[in-house]
Structure formats: C-alpha cells, structure tokens
Amino acid sequence: MTGSRRDFLRTSAALAALAWPLTTVGAPARAWAQGDKQGGLLRISATFGLSTLNPLAHISGAEWMATRWLYSNLTRLTPKRDVVPDLAESWTAGDGGRVWTFKLRRGVQFHVGREVVADDVVATMQTILDPKTASPYRGEIGPIDRVEAVDKSTVRFTLRGPFADFPAIMTVPVARIVAREGLGDLKALAAKEFGSGPFRLREFVPGDHVTVERFAHYYRSGRPFLDAVTLKVFPEPATELTAFRARETDMIWDVSPDLYPQITATAGANALAVPGGTFANVIMPTDKPPFSDNRVREALKYTVDRTAMLAAINGGQGELANDHPVSTAYAFHARLPIRTPDLGKARSLLREAGHGSGLSFKLFAASSPPIREKMAVILKEMARPAGFDIDVEVLAYDRYLAQVWNKGVPYIGFYATRPTADAILMKLYHPKEGLDEGRWAPSHPEAIHLLEQARETLDVERRRRSYATFQKVSRDDGPFVLPFFRNELSGSWGYVRDFTLNASNFEVDLEDVWLTADAPRKKG
C-alpha cells in the first residue's frame, strides 16, 4: 500500500512543481542564524469572515486560516500539495483502502496542558459526524462508518467503502483535532480554542480581528519563530490595500484581481500568485429543456472565449479550463486540448437542437463574490452572436442562497480549491456524496460510476485512467461551463520571509515564517 501512496504523492508533487515558478517567495540573501529569525508580530489582513473560530462550523477562508494556527490535523497539505504528517506520524491502509490506521505522534501537547491522545481524535470525528452538530462538512470528510481508538496513540477509521484519498481528506479545515473537553459545549468553541497548534488564542473580537501568540510547547521544537500573529478584517478593499502599502499590515491575503497590480507596483512588496483550483462555473440544469439537450450545452461552451474572459475577470491571472473542475493543482489533471471559441459551430449546434431562431434563458448570479456577476455579464455578451439571449439577474447572497442555489435553475456557482480531485468531483457531480447541481448524475450513471471506482482503488494508474475519462466526458457532455481557474493572489512585504502561498490559499502555514530586523513589528 505504502508504495502506491508514495506514487500518488510523487505525482502530485511533480504536478505542483510545474506550477512552482509562478510563486514569488522572498528568498533569504544570506544565511540567517536561528536567533535572528525569532520574534515579532505578523499582521495579516482579509476582507471578510471571522465570525467564529469553531472548526466544526466555520466556512470562510479567514476562519480556516485562523484555526490552522490554533489547531493541528492528523495530516497536512504542503504548498507542493504533498500530504505529510501532522499529529499522525504515519498511516497505513487495510482491507483495500477501507480501513485506515493512524499512528499518533507521542508527547504532543494541547494548549490546555495535556497530551493529545487517540480518544481526542475519536471524539472530534464523532462530533462532526453527529447530525445534531449540523456541521456543514459532515459529508466532506470521507465515508466514515466507524472511528475507534486502538490504543492511546492509534486511531482506526473503518469506512463504508474503500477510499484512496482518506489521508488527504484529513487535511481539511473541519478535521482539526479538538481536545475532547472542548467538545462538551460547542457554542463556547466559537470563541475559545482547544487545539494543539503552533499558536494559542490571545484575543478574538468576532467580525473584526483575532490575535494568536506563540505556543511554547509546540511539538516542532524551535517553531514557530513569530511571537504573535494578528488577522484583521478590513471590509473595504481599498482601505485594506492602503493599510498594507503604509506597512500597517505585513501581509494582504486574497487580494482582488483589480487591486493586485498595485501590489506588483509597490516597491519592497512581494506579489504572490499561485495557480489553484478556485473557479466560478455556469450551472446548466440538465434535467429539463433546454439544457437536457447536450447540443445546447455544447453550443454555450463554444461561445466562450476563455482567454478573453480570464483577462477581463481576473487580469489574466489564472489558467484556462475545460468545463470540468480538475485544475493542474490536482494530481489527476488530464491534459486535454482546451476548447477554442467557435461561434459558427455554436450556431449550428443550436440550430440542430431546434433553436434556429435563438434561445433565451435566465441566468442568476449572486453579487458576492464579484466574479459571479462578471462572469454572467461577459457570458451574456459572448453568447449573444451565437443566438443566445441571456437575461442576467444579479441578487444579494442571502436571496441567492434561499431561492436560487441548488434549486435546478441556471446560475453561477463558485468553488474553492479542495485537497484532492476526488473531493471537488464528488462535490460537484455525485448525487449523494455531493450536490449534483447540474442534475446530471441520473442521465450519466456510467460517468458517476467512474468517480466511485476511482476513489475506491489504490491503484494509481487505474485511478488516473478513470479520472482522465471522466474529465473528457465532463468536457464534452457535462453540465457546466467552467472557463478558467483563477490564481490565488496575495501580497507580503519583503521582510516577511519563508512564506509560501498554498494553492489552497487558506492554508497559511506560518511555522517557518520569520521577520527580518527591519520589519516594523519585529520587537512585537
């Protein structure tokens, strides 16, 4: 088993390495003594989120970022997208990938002052799985049937079926391991922490900022270097940018593409960009006309000038996509030629489908994040010459959630990078494990079966073949127009060293990050 896992890891590392040159990292100009690296306050900004620190319930990037500092997972995802040990020192698969056994690192301390043991892992997982907890990700941590403590430092997960990516899924933000005394009062978990991460909570003002400080007994000795970290919400992006440029903040996280060029232009600042798997997509419900006819779906796909759309929406920061969600950030990305715009073909496909005189439909887009509305409006213009008459309706996010999202109407979806291709594919296409917003699964059982097969085998080559076939089917026949993946964009000052932006951009790992002596808050 370990062999195939290594293969899988190697593949993902190799693919991520292709993306590597795009990342800007301030490289130390000389060798630095350990003592030079020690100390300082790092100030990071974001524009939204930070309502809660409860890892079982948080759903925004800023919150995920903060709990990454406070808690540990069993495993963690490196910027190269390798799955490496965190609380778990090693893991093995049994019964063809149906049973996973994790060996815990000994002597890891919770901030509450006791050792992390298998019972804490079991209690955390059971709480997430309990329907009463109403955890948003209950369905996203793998098909867990049973979890038990074999001994003090061994945890065994028995799954409902074989699941090759289970160790990678344990890296997700919901799978942070909470000390079991913290699970008694889930409400309190919103503002208190019971973690074993590199930092402990100093102050939390929900909706405004969180400050964490170095945990002296963290299991990686000598880490972290920073004394403290503050994450502050600036609701107005222009204020956020000015604060960064005035060095009131040291790192600006998740910058919008229209402000990004200003970071590139700021002397002394590093503009950080990394290809990820974040995208917006046009969801075409295939269970009823007109999108039940694949010719109509294909026609719409042919109208999109992907390069132009990426340039207009994200300043060219991203990579073109093929109407499926597997970007080059994932291990099983298949290299297929990108569909080029062809209005003539789109028109004839529409005509064949019986819409020779044109086709009108309504497309909904939530006003947040802005990429949704932009995509809808640009698509409307791009598709018009082919005979599509798209009526775009933009609505507030709350109305969108209540009346449009997953209700079987055409709308613009938005998805963040997941740890594995399986996670995003299941979420998008599988009727039970995911949403199937395109209502596509019932008419394509063989494609769904491919996904199920791929996650159930540990044979990397077989998986690669299944995923490749699926990506082709989804490109040619699938329910989404998915024109591009956007790069994750951030910025940091040159005095912030050894930070690497992750394709899962909320994985802001600060353990190795340090400040040079000229940082404004090196003295805390």
């Binding site: 759903i59 329907p131 948003p136 405004d208 900022h209 107005e236 005035a246 009131e248």
Partner: protein, 315 residues
C-alpha cells in the same frame, strides 16, 4: 413637568417595542434564515433542519418573538446566531467604540460649526460669510465613503501617513493611540454634519441680531462682542440645538458607512453584519440601542431647549 417626563418616557418605551416588532418581522420577510447563511453553500437538507432546530428557527414566528421578549425582560439579551456568543458580550466593545466616535464627532461639530456660524452671521454678506457657507456645503455634498476614502489615501497613505488607515486601539493602549485611530473617522463624519449646524446657527443668530432687545443692548453701549456672546447667542442657538438632535439620526447612518470604510468595530458595522447574517437577536439589540439613543437624545434636546429659552414650558 414631571407628568411630561413620564409621558415622554412611556412613549419612548412604546416606540422601542414597536421597533423591535418591525425589525423582527422585517428580518423574517427577507428570504433565507440564519441557518441558510451559516451553512452557506455547504448546506444539506439534513444539516439545515438540524441547525434550524438548534437555533430555534423552526418555531412559529410569534413564539420566537415572545421567547426573545421573555429573555429581555429577565435580563437575557440572547445569543448571536452567527457568532455564537451572548449578544451583551459582543455589543459592549462596539457600543463603547461607537459612543466614542459619535461623542467626539458631536463635540467636533459643535466646536467647529457654532463659531463658524456665528462668524458668518456677524459678517453676513461679506466674503468670509460666503467662504464659510460654500466650504460647509462642499462638506455636505461629498458622501462619507468618498471623503473617508480620500482622507485615508491622503492622510494615511504611505507618503504622509499621519494617521492609521483604520482599525482601533483601546483606551488602555494609551490616549494617543486611541485618539489617532479616531481622527480620520471623526473628520469624515464632521465634514458632512457641519453644514447643517453652521447654517442654522447663522440664520438663528441673524434673526436675533435684528431683534429689539439686541438694539436696546446696542443703545446701552454694550460692545459688539458682548452683544453677540452674552445676549444673542443663547437665543440664536435654539434652531441649532434642534438640528444637532436631528443630526444624531444622520450621524448614526454615517457611522455605519464610516465604520465599514475605516474597519472600525462599532455598532454600525455590527448592524450591517447582523443584517447580512440574518442574526436576529444581534440585530434586535443593536437596533434597539441605536433607537433608544436617538429617542433619548431628542428628549434631551427638548429639555435643553427649555433651559435655553425659559419661555418654553412642557406640560
């Protein structure tokens, strides 16, 4: 007088009850619930049901409202649905912050606008009068989010950086840090409010300066300075007091915008947050605090009126 005060007190209470009903009803007319927003695009039908049950959103509307009222009467202001913390714990800091912002703004408006209005009245029709009126109108015609942004770019940007761009510092961090964070937001709010008060002070004073008792004072040989400051200003301020009290409402609206632009954690940002997240308990308490402040301030203005002008008697 006592009867008047009690009557006003009762009517304020009634207004607050009505507001709480309206806010409650309005949030339920809006699509979606706190549960839909907490779970976002990760919701499943089961998790939605479980969460609505946990938050008590599955109960009939009237029951939810009465439960909330019952809590308030017994001193339990409820739990924020989105932040999962007692509302009182959340509101404290924001209320202090907004109170500081509002109080400093009011002081700034009074300190700037009344002297300016007085000068304009005394110099009526001259270039100074014209300059003051034009300047104050410039302030009112630029909305806070524009003036706020401009102030940030110019005074907090990397080149000057006289003040921090946003955020706040607690008083415990020192008076200087605390004040430095307040200067720009206060300035943005003051710019908008000054015009009203300048104009009211000016016209009130001009009228008074033409009245017979001022003429008498002049004939008695009082200096112009004494006439304006001792005799005219007290009466001339009456319309300005009314406008300042009414401007409180405007100030609260401005605070929502300014706190958002300056990333300043106060009541305005909290209300916006509560609306966006359908956080009804948090919204109820926040709105009631704002409404209570407004009604009580108006009541205070009426009392001040009586003090400034002994002819006015409330019954």
């Amino acid at each position: 007088m006592a009867r008047y005060v009690v009557g006003r007190g009762l009517s304020i209470a009634l207004v607050l009850v009505l507001i709480s009903i309206i806010v409650f009803a309005a949030t339920h007319v809006l699509p979606g619930s706190a549960a839909t927003l907490i779970l976002g695009e990760y919701a499943t039908p089961e998790s939605l049901r479980a969460l609505e049950q946990e938050l008590g959103l599955d109960r009939p509307l009237a029951v939810q409202y009465l439960a909330w009222v019952g809590g308030v009467v017994t001193g339990d202001w409820g739990y924020s649905l989105a932040m999962k913390q007692p509302v009182t714990a959340i509101v404290g800091l924001r209320l202090r912050n907004s109170a500081a912002l509002a109080a400093l703004t009011l002081v700034a408006v009074i300190l700037v606008a009344i002297p300016l209005g007085t000068v304009a009245a005394v110099r009526q029709g001259r270039w100074l009068d014209l300059a003051i009126l034009t300047g104050s109108y410039l302030g009112i015609s630029v909305p806070e989010f524009v003036s706020g942004m401009l102030l940030i770019l110019v005074l907090a940007g990397p080149s000057l950086h006289w003040f921090p761009t946003g955020d706040y510092a607690p008083l415990a961090a020192g008076l200087r840090a605390w004040l430095s964070h307040l200067v720009l937001p206060v300035l943005a709010l003051t710019l908008v409010l000054v015009a009203h008060v300048v104009r009211q002070t000016r016209s009130g004073l001009i009228e008074v300066l033409r009245s017979p008792y001022v003429r008498t004072a002049r004939l008695k040989g009082a200096t112009e300075r004494r006439i304006v400051l001792r005799h005219a200003l007290r009466n001339g301020l009456l319309p300005a007091v009314t406008v300042i009290a009414l401007d409180l409402g405007y100030l609260m609206g401005g605070i929502v915008v300014v706190e958002e632009v300056f990333a300043y954690p106060g009541m305005g940002r909290l209300i916006l947050y509560a609306i966006q997240n359908r956080d009804v308990p948090l919204l109820q308490v926040s709105i009631l605090i704002v409404a209570a402040t407004y009604t009580v301030a108006n009541f205070g203005a009426d009392m001040l009126y009586a003090w400034l002008d002994p002819r006015i008697r409330y019954r």
